[in-house]
Symmetry: C2
Subunit: 223 residues, 2 copies
């Protein structure tokens, strides 16, 4: 296979996965058939099976790539950052900018968390756990760095409250609407950080850089 063929293969797979995520988000994984995906993509059933073994593998690739890419981006952006409050800001901005560009995938992660079985489920759960634990450890660092010891919010509650307020956006937020992702991130960062670590937010640190980049979950698919 030449490099050119590989790239065409990747592009087609990306197109199939993105279409599948949209259909799973619209009518649920269980109600979707390979025939639905074939119809939506204009790829024959035989053609689809050239790219994936089953509907379950499609769901796995969507979930696995989402967690993989969001973690990878976070690690890239957190290199050399030592201030735990800035780490929280980067975590929120990274999560929101990534998922605002991948809302269908976000809904699929949330609604179909239990739809995979066995090893595939275990593999995705492992990545999700790693991501969740990373959030908790950053929040623990924020607690440790604060001198004031009064009225602290439970770390588990704070971690899931943060994911809850971020992930709920698939129910209401329109990335093409008036409120820009950067404004959404700034508002949620202020709300969360001021509540979790009162006085930790300064105007200077909340301002996030806003550079153009590729936010597809599919770049760097491992096969």
């Amino acid at each position: 296979m030449s490099a050119n063929d590989l790239s065409r293969y990747d592009q087609k797979l990306e197109f199939i996965l993105r279409s599948a995520a949209q259909i799973f988000a619209d009518k649920s994984y269980h109600s979707t058939t390979m025939r639905d995906i074939s119809r939506a993509t204009n790829v024959s059933l035989a053609g689809l099976y050239h790219y994936c073994k089953s509907k379950e593998e499609l769901l796995f690739l969507i979930q696995d790539n989402c967690f993989g890419r969001v973690l990878e981006r976070l690690e890239e952006r957190s290199v050399d950052v030592n201030d735990p409050v800035v780490k929280v800001q980067i975590f929120i901005e990274n999560h929101l900018s990534f998922f605002a560009a991948n809302m269908a995938e976000m809904k699929v992660l949330s609604h179909e968390a239990e739809s995979l079985q066995g090893d595939l489920h275990a593999h995705v759960s492992g990545k999700k756990d790693k991501y969740t634990k990373l959030a908790t450890s950053i929040l623990r660092e924020v607690h440790s760095s604060q001198n004031d010891k009064g009225g602290r919010v439970n770390l588990t509650v704070a971690t899931y409250a943060l994911f809850g307020m971020m992930n709920w956006i698939y129910n209401w937020y329109d990335p093409k609407g008036k409120l820009k992702v950067s404004d959404l991130a700034q508002n949620l960062t202020q709300l969360f950080l001021e509540g979790f670590a009162p006085g930790s937010v300064s105007e200077a640190t909340v301002k996030m850089r806003n550079r153009p980049e590729n936010l597809s979950i599919w770049r760097g698919i491992e096969r």
Copy 2:
């Protein structure tokens, strides 16, 4: 029909609705058949149709009663309350204690929001909008009551962030675990209020009363 018959009818309907909510939560509304509900409840198919016209009517009764009951409880508990910060505390405590007792129904509200059609969908959406607008109006009152005009969080973002952090509990919270619902409510109240209206939370007001009560969503079904 005697009063006694009515009560037996209500009890049976309550049992069917609660079982249906659990099955919808486990395997999704679309993947559930009336036969599944018949099997789980040990009520014959003919028997089921004595209580509801269709699977869609079951989903409607679950959603409609959830929003109806949580609103009704909130209104009862907010009578004579004027302090907007206390109103927020009651809103959070009411929502969490109600849905922690009805986790399957909570998941069904979240995952099957778009599964109803036409008039049934419009009716439930109306109640949901009323509830959401009530939250926003209380938050607006909190803003107005605050003297400090700096760094305010957007009201729409704050409203959905609040619902997000509360509703996400169906993904992680175990009402039978170590963390009591009252502690969960206290932590989320502190996190949210301190973030939304810094300095508004006092120890005295966060403490919520904890009285035994009937938290079923089914009391007072209108037929």
